[in-house]
Amino acid sequence: MNRRPWHAVGPQTADTQRRRLLRFVLLAPATLAMLPAAEAWATQTGASDAAAAPDPLASIHLQADGQVVIEVGKLEMGQGATTGLAQLVAEEMDADWQQVRVVSGPAAARYIDPRVGMQVTGGSHSIRHQWDSHRELGARMRWLLVQAAAQHWGAPPQHLSTERGHVRWGEKSLPYHTLRDRLPAMRLPAQVRLKPPGAHRLIGRPLPRLDAPGKICGATRYGIDHGAGECLVAVIARPERFGAVVRRWAWAPGVPPQGVLAAFEIPLTPRGSGVAVVAADTASALRARSALSIDWTLPDGEAADSEALTTAWMTLADQPGLVAPGRDLPLRAETARTTELTWVFPYLAHLAMEPLNATVWLEEDRVQVWTGTQFQTVDQEAIARTCGLPASRVALHTLPAGGGFGRRATADSDVVVQACRVAIAARLRGLNAPVKLMWTREDDTRAGYYRPLHVHRARLQFDAQGRLLLWHHRIVGQSLLQGTPFEAGIGPSGVDTASTEGLADTAYNLPLRLEVHHPRCEVPVLWWRAVGHNHTAFVVETLVDELARQGGRDPAALRMTLLPHGHRARDALQLALRQAAWGRPLPAGQAQGIAVHTSFGTAVAMVARVSLRDREVRVHEVVAGVHAGYVVNPSSARAQIEGAIVMALGTLLPGSALLVRQGAAVQSGLHDLRLPRMADTPRVRVHFVASEEAPGGLGEPGLPPLGPAVANALARLTGKHWHHPPFQA
């Protein structure tokens, strides 16, 4: 069974908030449109409880050629979840791994995660939440195969064994696929026994990813590739300013350019409108869009400006805010010594390599959508609402995505909703064909849905002996859920844990009082990888280093005294320190910095070796110690940590912050918004704590510790605080 996350104690956690959010999604009477869909899902499975034992025959397809096609409910966006889940199934069913293939299934009730109440890929929880269910699925399939073979041979099932895709009885053996016609008649077992870790042949092995061969030779079809050359292509001329609305539009040359099949105004999400152009191919659509002349009505209110917002929010951070549940220690009078620290984190764009897209085929009484979405349940509902169809008439096909990082999980389902609106308008104009709505890189960069800008302020109060009496902290940042259909998920405190997770629930034994402000502003905001942890870890870990400095303590030793016994972070930290030879003499001009952070069930410690030359930060090497419980695929797991390190490093590079001026993004693409490149990549060594505990997440936990590890190294080199990433040259 999955362990309850040990860091989820007392204060409301992100898990609690997400569960609350999901109860709202499924049961809130205000959203009547959702109820028929819930009933439709129940009818599909024949079960009212999505947590009831799923039928392996629905997800595991034995093909006549011997291939075993495993269908999983998760999006493959690079994190390796589909291969990992296939390993769980294949292990327990004793499949021949060489014959195993994995596909992502469509939006369907059987893929609803009972712990979250919806089908979703995110939160680093695919394997974490399905650790038992997918092994059970495989074990159930094995049971069916054994029963079928026993029936075929007239043998007692308990005398049969399974190995690499075969059922065996003494000298006899049958390949699994030869039994497939008998399987539907077999009765499912009441319960199954799972293999102990010592018996694993596949789980725990660094098996090559199943999706790699198709991807590297260009055969794999991502959302953007679906129907290329066969479907119509649409692009939208989007506002120059968040929330602007089309007042008037025309073709600059006076007539529609060649190749335009339709052009119309289209409402956008979350606000505003644009002009959509539909053509037979991408080049025609793009060319036509640039021939549009549009007058915009700008929204009321002050235009967002990231510098002005930062200044305003730093002032807000001086004022009392919403108190975080469980972090309500009383204020203190003046003490012997006080330290004030401030951190500022900019807006960040997700910038997955595959720009957003969805292909919609709208017919009289049903609709099919092909896209790489992280939010199948939410999107299916939104498609149904937008098209005026019951959810049972919505087929949402999940295609591999060229990266997600949270951008493909929006509460307002911006991608599929806009694509459906285009398809509806196109169909009204006689275009009865599938339409792919594509975001260009400019559209994707400028659309918003950024990691929110955050200001943190800490007031540390010490007594005359240097003991910390109170850490009074304020966080200022837009709430992710506020203003979305999921606003009720925030809870009565008004504190959105997406801004506080990693700090509010820190495992460190420190006297914390936490207050939060959630200012509203027109910039659309969204998760970004690791969500709250991508800034709270930076704050906590640089703050702890500051405490170590003031107290004359070694930062590693101080952390060990602050972490509870038995906490995964202790093992992770000790592993990283040992592997990095923490404390050894370094070449002149270099320093090591450490950080350890726990998120999504996994503790990751990092030691970064850094130098500074001409104000340019150079990260030479990063050594990571990871406690992720049982690692299902060590190669894939290591790759996730390596990749997250690069992504985090990117946020420290000058030019990586998404700037907002006059209500719009300043940058428009990969030419003027800096992403990390091969030359920026340090040497990385990742070490895992050997463990047979239930798996923790791996998609996101590698990101939070890198920034503070580097900042702490720089602080050792320079004696200054590095609290404002990116570190400007």
């Binding site: 493959e76 690079g78 994190q79 390796g80 660094p206 090559p208 990813r209 999706d211 790699a212 061969p213 991807k215 590297i216 030779c217 260009g218 055969a219 794999t220 079809r221 991502y222 953007i224 590739d225 290329a228 050359g229 292509v233 191919d281 991408t282 080049a283 793009l286 910038l351 997955a352 390599m353 595959e354 720009p355 591999p400 995505a401 060229g402 990266g403 990082f405 260009t440 890189r441 400019e442 894939s636 790759a639 996730q640 390596e642 990749g643 997250a644 390190i645 690069v646 992504m647 693409g669 990969l670 030419h671 992403l675 990390p676 490149r677 091969m678 030359a679 990549t681 040497r683 990385v684």
Partner: protein, 154 residues
């Protein structure tokens, strides 16, 4: 000079009527060769890399009318001896995560190895730094290229 035909993967195809059409979209939409990817449209990321007479070119900023040689895309490149060697190295190092940038990376790597069969580490970085990977697989790409180079000389 405008050619009436363009040779792609050793086969001739009528060139598009509008010579300004970027090679990327003609390959993807007209020929159905979707292995060449759209990442930025401005030549900054390398996802659209093809070979024209063996040289790496960015198809998103190359008008069809400007193509003056034979075009090879990822679909054909991986069937050549060098392509197979590079693919094998990519699999051995378990490089791909989301995989979207990888065809472009592989086309870039092949062009590099064709020019420099045994590049030093710094030459690999120089040669590949123009290719973006949002998943951050750079370390493994570097190791895969070094591996492919080693395998080529044995």
């Amino acid at each position: 000079m405008r050619q009436p035909f363009l040779i792609v993967n050793q086969r001739p195809h009528p060139a598009p009527a509008d010579g300004d059409t970027p090679l990327l979209w003609w390959l993807r939409d007209s020929l159905g060769l979707t292995g060449t990817k759209y990442g930025c449209g401005v030549g900054a990321c390398g996802a659209c890399t093809v070979h024209v007479d063996g040289q790496a070119r960015r198809a998103c900023i190359t008008p069809c009318s400007a193509v003056d040689g034979e075009i090879v895309t990822i679909e054909h490149a991986v069937t050549t001896p060098l392509g197979r060697r590079v693919l094998a190295a990519w699999l051995a190092e378990d490089v791909a995560q989301c995989g979207y940038c990888q065809p472009g990376q592989i086309m870039g790597a092949m062009a590099l190895l064709a020019r420099e069969p045994r590049p030093q580490a710094n030459r690999i970085v120089e040669g590949m730094n123009g290719h973006l990977c949002r998943c951050g697989t750079y370390g493994r790409i570097q190791r895969a290229i070094a591996r492919a180079a080693r395998e080529g000389s044995t």
